[in-house]
């Protein structure tokens, strides 16, 4: 069992993150020397469903579209310095992602790159789909298997650790828990037992702090005058220093923007958490109620006190289903009496939607007065007299089919000639939606598979 410190950097916190973020993290890991790994988290719930749908028309697709762009600047340096990369960018097609990565490796002069894929998260067509229990948040949900676009179980860290022990330099997964991308390298490095709950909890907590990238290093944090952050255009992504006893220190590359302090770490520690005494993951139940956060030096924060309990007997599965259509249209009104003109436009739209039978599925916002805090019922009390210099009227409508959504947003465009005076800047879009439900599946129904691929497999 290795006792040396392990550094884990995170170069991406979601699908859509900055593509140049991993570079400075890799530079810092190389400069520090010693064992290290890099995680790239790029897989959202919706991302996976879209990937599955894309794969229907293009069998070679269905993985993170930006994966090669993320890997290109760093793959050779990571391979040369023994820094494995772990990513969930395989989405609906880890094998397709591996082929693309191997093609990139050949182009970069790394023909011997060892790429591993983790499969088995996709449970469409398996018996598991037939006897799922709805997760507490979706109680009462009934599943029609014929409607399913994607159905994936959150796998844990063990298959990732297996792949690394087999010498993989790049591990590509589909759906797995985000913290597992960090815990996998820790298991492979430290050799923690699979029932060493406190260490698994510490590693999971480190993964949770890393998984959203800059959200722990000053991203999604700045509030001028209250919480100031320098260098947001070059914000440094996080690095966790993990000790064999499960001690965690969060830092970021020297010379980058952002900051790591008690406040940034606390915000991220509680991000998307419900009961702080029981954060359920595939690997362990994490209890953070005794965690302490200590600023040791500028941009160096120690996090201690994670406790673990035995992992749950079930795993969470996300099932994606068709969710109808969303139509959105916007138009702006400015200058004298703009609020009254915008409200008249809104009433006009509502009258037109009644003719289409859509008034109960629509929402109208006055952007500039209120647009994100309100309910669907209109402007909340206290804002009746607010008169901003300009207002953007927004219509959103949910429909079962595309044509109806298009008919609804056309009513916004028609306001050019038929609406109140001075309307301008119409934009509209119609998109199909995906609905997701969560279920629980017994752990023994899953059989994760690890496969090492070479350049021949990519041909």
């Amino acid at each position: 069992m290795a006792q040396t410190l392990l550094r884990i950097g995170c170069g991406s916190g979601f699908s859509g993150d900055r593509l140049d973020a991993p570079g400075p993290v890799v530079d810092a890991l190389i400069a520090a020397g010693g064992p290290a790994a890099l995680m790239l988290e790029v897989l959202g719930e919706r991302t996976l469903a879209l990937a599955q749908r894309e794969r229907l028309t293009r069998p070679e697709a269905g993985f993170e579209p930006a994966l090669v762009a993320l890997l290109r600047p760093i793959l050779a340096r990571c391979a040369q310095h023994g820094i494995p990369i772990v990513t969930n960018g395989g989405a609906a097609n880890p094998r397709g992602a591996a082929k693309a990565a191997l093609a990139l490796a050949r182009e970069l002069g790394l023909p011997a790159l060892r790429v591993a894929i983790v499969e088995g998260d996709d449970i469409r067509g398996s018996g598991a789909l037939a006897d799922l229990d709805p997760w507490e948040g979706d109680a009462g949900a009934v599943l029609d298997p014929g409607q399913v676009i994607a159905a994936n179980v959150y796998l844990g860290a063990a298959p990732i650790a297996d792949a690394l022990r087999q010498g993989a330099q790049l591990v590509i997964t589909g759906r797995c828990s985000d913290p597992a991308l960090a815990l996998g390298p820790m298991l492979a490095h430290f050799g923690w037992a699979e029932d060493d709950w406190d260490r698994l909890a510490a590693g999971t907590m480190a993964g949770h702090l890393l998984e959203c990238g800059a959200q722990v290093t000053g991203g999604y944090f700045a509030d001028p005058g209250t919480k100031d952050v320098e260098g947001m255009a070059e914000i440094g992504f996080p690095i966790a220093e993990i000790s064999a006893d499960g001690s965690i220190l969060i830092t970021k590359p020297a010379g980058t923007g952002g900051l790591v302090d008690r406040r940034t770490v606390t915000e991220q520690l509680l991000y998307e958490l419900h009961d702080p005494g029981a954060y359920l993951t595939p690997d362990v139940i994490l209890d953070i109620t005794n965690v302490a956060i200590t600023e040791e030096a500028p941009d160096r924060v120690r996090v201690t006190g994670a406790r673990g309990r035995p992992r749950p007997p079930t795993l969470k599965a996300t099932v994606s289903l068709p969710g109808g259509w969303l139509g959105e249209g916007e138009i702006s009104y400015g200058g004298p009496n703009c609020r009254a003109r915008a409200e008249l436009a809104g009433r006009t739209l509502q009258d037109r939607l009644k003719k289409l039978g859509l008034e109960s599925q629509a929402r109208i916002d006055l952007i500039g007065v209120v647009s994100v805090f309100g309910g669907d019922a209109g402007v909340p009390k206290g804002l009746e007299d607010l008169a901003p210099p300009d207002i953007r009227l927004r219509l959103a409508v949910a429909t079962d089919d595309r044509a109806t959504a298009e008919a609804a947003v056309r009513e916004v465009l028609s306001l050019y000639c038929c609406g109140p005076a001075g309307g301008g800047g119409v934009r509209s879009r119609v998109v199909d939606r995906i609905r997701t439900l969560s279920f629980l599946v017994p752990r023994e129904r899953l059989a994760p598979r690890v496969t090492l691929l070479t350049l021949e497999d990519a041909a």
């Binding site: 509680l270 998307e272 953070i288 956060i293 969303l326 309910g375």
Partner: protein
Amino acid sequence: MTTVPLHRLAHARAGDKGNRLNLSLIAHDRVHYDHLAAQVTEAKVLARFAHRGATAVRRYDLPNLGAFNFVVEDVLQGGVNGALNLDGHGKSLSFHLLGLEVDALA
């Protein structure tokens, strides 16, 4: 009694899971923790989000961290996949919480 926006005393971040929202609330200065605990009750947070259809609020206290975690049920109008709201994730709602008026420090 004068009041101040909660924003003066604490910071917050929102996260979503389906139609459920969690809001962390973190004291700028830990000496204000007990004051926040007395002021920012589950009932007040539920009332703050009532117009959004919130049905229940659970507060978890984390004195070690100078923080609270609020879990607000049914507040996201169906969540990111169902809401007509521009911000289906409810990510901006941390600042709706911080707009809550609370008693100023004694």
